[in-house]
């Protein structure tokens, strides 16, 4: 019933057994977290658990919202960002966690 993950031994000797191990490699790195309600977080991953509750540092939160222009009926997409020094994120709003962004 439960899929047995093939152990993948990376060249640096870290054993990958389950999906959460990918996040383990990202501890103390800047990660991208996509959340529910069009919220995105970028911050340094300090801690997480099996629920994906997380503690992030130096967080930048981006909230994307769209409203309709009353005259033209066009959809206007606006982004608001804010910065938080240290943030605990409850796991149930987390959609995806992506390892450090090597680009940009």
């Amino acid at each position: 019933m439960f899929c047995k993950w093939e152990s993948i031994v990376l060249s640096i000797g870290i054993i990958m057994e389950e999906p959460l191990d990918l996040i383990k490699l990202s501890i103390d790195e800047r990660v991208y977290v996509k959340c529910r309600n069009d919220r995105e977080l970028r911050g340094r991953l300090h801690a997480y658990d099996q629920h994906l509750n997380m503690v992030l540092g130096d967080v930048e939160e981006t909230i994307t919202s769209s409203e309709e222009d009353e005259e033209t009926g066009e959809e206007i997409i606006s982004k608001r960002t804010r910065n938080v020094g240290m943030l605990f994120v409850r796991g149930d709003i987390v959609v995806l966690v992506s390892p450090p962004l090597r680009t940009s």
Binding site: I27, H46, G85, L87, V89
Partner: protein
């Protein structure tokens, strides 16, 4: 390391933000706050009378913490330990 007694801001899933002193937390991450103040009082006048409150863990979105109240090195080590298969075994191993 505990945040009990420290000043925190709890952001709920309905966008209400409550600041206060952390009195206690339990296994469900239910939170008891003392000396509560609601941020954006004009929008939530009914909440201005709150002094102490209990917050059900499931309605919490974020908890904003003062970075100085957290030892990040300790957190990272504890996370690595908790999620390492060698100590105590992972959840997936327990199911096998």
């Amino acid at each position: 390391m505990t945040l009990v007694g420290k000043e925190i801001a709890v952001e709920l899933k309905n966008d209400v933000v409550l600041t206060g002193t952390l009195h206690s937390v339990d296994q469900y991450l239910n939170i008891k706050l003392t000396t509560v103040q609601v941020v954006n009082q004009e929008r939530y006048p009914q909440l201005t009378v709150l002094k102490n409150c209990f917050i059900r863990g499931s309605v919490v979105r974020y908890v904003q913490i003062n970075p100085g109240d957290v030892n990040t090195e300790l957190l990272q080590d504890a996370t690595r330990k908790e999620n390492s298969p060698a100590v105590g075994g992972t959840v997936s191993e327990a199911k096998k």
